[in-house]
Symmetry: C2
Subunit: 328 residues, 2 copies
């Protein structure tokens, strides 16, 4: 049995096509009688009528789909969590989510031009990762007049919406977490920091700020220079990321330093493996899902109501495990 169309519903209900359209879309532009409304709804149910989204899109010029332009690997933890939030929010608002392939070919632009999607969520990669010219992508999107938002961007375009991570916040909350557990001799360990706009530099900043707030002495240690003897000067360390923390953990084990009894360790990011290390790592994580939801909501708002651009920044949150103890 073929799918019922609006015509079939109208016929069964004994009303006009436009009546069906108005009534089923809950349009309050027109007032139909209670009777008519009931007749239409009954007929629609009886025929299990499903409005054809394509035909609707044809008229309205919309596909009601949000495109994801993703720069990360597909099997990336950050991407996965963001996607989850995006899908949840979009579907709540009647939008589907389309994965645009191969970002390097700008396929998301043609998806938009082909009307497969109504807007784009551009997910920029981790600052330190592969070469990626964010500006080129954003300029293309602007040129093509696509409603879009940038996630994890580093650029600063005037009329562009950004949903960003506050990298400084990760080490700030990590340091704060340690200080609240009576630590004061806290080192920060990170690979060499170059540009001060980099993620690496941002993360260092958060540590320094929080230490300064309490008047504690800061010690920033290059992970290459790390030695067991150095570690023994501290009761706790903040690692810029989980891989650095793993380094610390390995070194501690092999030199008889017990974590967390002798040394508390906290990592300012979370990896899939963080809780599987020799000591399950206490880490910091961004609220990826919330960010995804927020970005989806705003972008749909741009599509439907030409919403003004906004900038939102998200802070890190602690995920407790077993690598931190109170300082005696």
């Amino acid at each position: 049995m073929k799918n019922a169309t609006i015509k079939d519903v109208a016929a069964l209900a004994g009303v006009s096509i436009s009546a069906v359209s108005y009534i089923l879309n809950d349009s309050n532009a027109k007032k139909y009688s209670k009777e008519t409304i009931k007749k239409v709804k009954d007929a629609a149910k009886k025929l299990s009528y499903r409005p054809n989204a394509i035909a609707k899109g044809m008229r309205t010029g919309r596909s009601f789909s949000l495109g994801i332009a993703n720069c990360w690997d597909m099997d990336n933890r950050v991407f996965a969590h963001i996607l989850k939030g995006v899908v949840a929010c979009a579907s709540k608002l009647g939008f589907s989510v389309t994965i645009c392939p191969n970002i390097d070919t700008f396929s998301y632009i043609s998806y938009y031009e082909n009307r497969r999607i109504d807007g784009v969520l551009l997910i920029a990669p981790a600052l330190s990762e592969k070469a990626f010219d964010e500006n080129v992508h954003i300029n293309k999107l602007i040129d093509a007049n696509v409603p879009f938002s940038v996630i994890n961007g580093i650029s600063e375009f005037e009329n562009v919406s950004y949903f960003n991570f506050n990298y400084a916040s990760t080490t700030f909350v990590a340091t704060d977490y340690l200080i609240k557990r009576n630590h004061s001799k806290i080192a920060y360990i990170s690979p060499k920091i170059s540009s001060d706009k980099s993620e690496l530099a941002q993360r260092c900043l958060g540590y320094e700020q929080r230490m300064n707030e309490s008047g504690f002495k800061t010690s920033v240690i290059d992970s290459n220079d790390l030695t067991p003897d150095l570690l023994k000067n501290y009761t706790a360390v903040v690692a810029n990321k989980s891989d650095t923390a793993k380094l610390v953990l390995d070194m501690a084990v092999s030199s008889g330093i017990s974590v967390p009894d002798d040394l508390s360790v906290i990592a300012a990011n979370t990896e899939y493996y963080s809780k599987y290390l020799s000591v399950p790592l206490t880490t910091v994580q961004f609220p990826f899902e919330a960010l995804g939801e927020s970005a989806a909501k705003h972008t749909i708002n741009c599509i439907q109501n030409s919403a003004e651009p906004i900038i939102k920044t998200f802070n890190g949150e602690i995920i407790e495990a077993s690598s931190v103890s109170n300082c005696k």
Copy 2:
């Protein structure tokens, strides 16, 4: 400037609309002169004409999109890799990929009925994981007349396409890998095995088969009953999954057994954390991406050419790390 339509192209080229349609679609049903073809292509380029996929879908009754009905968590390694393969293949064939939200509500059915998608890839969860009634989903898909394929299914419907994992192969290749390195005293370690159709039982089988082939004695050990003394009877162990292998690793460390010198360990699945354990685990992994590509290709073939159902099974492949050594 508004997007050019086929009409605009026809006008600029001085030909009919249908000529443009035929020519740009490379339809060989009609033969147009070289000149006309050139005129049309030039005009299309000049206007940077992008065919409106929605209008096309309206006529053809297709959305050219594949729906993903996913039962795993979004941040699941298996799902991520499959998705990658699906997107790669689908886009090559002119299809986009739509993530259907919340599988429990059967949203993928309404996506199909709304013509947002032309077919579905149903990704069933790991056999041992959460309650999921595959049959219910498949019956719904059949009732709604949706072209679809099942990934990782356990059911055995007559006219349904399956893209499955051969769980027995994982332990078979793992055991084979050890035997080729001169091991013969090899134990298999796994949680308690219940039903013999379960993934757990399948995995055990592969180990037994390979051991039998070489005439070696099999020893299946319940991971709950594992003791350091037991371990000392073997030169190598196959663990059903990475978490069991982690158990072995932890026990080995704490009882002075060195991996891989005293004991080789191999896990029959791969987790994000496998290579971050105290000894980086040698593991087995399925070719998820290839499976995704294959499933996408076939499903599109079903959509476009009513292809016959097929069943494909994929075997595990070794990922080498540092937890296995040659038996002396």
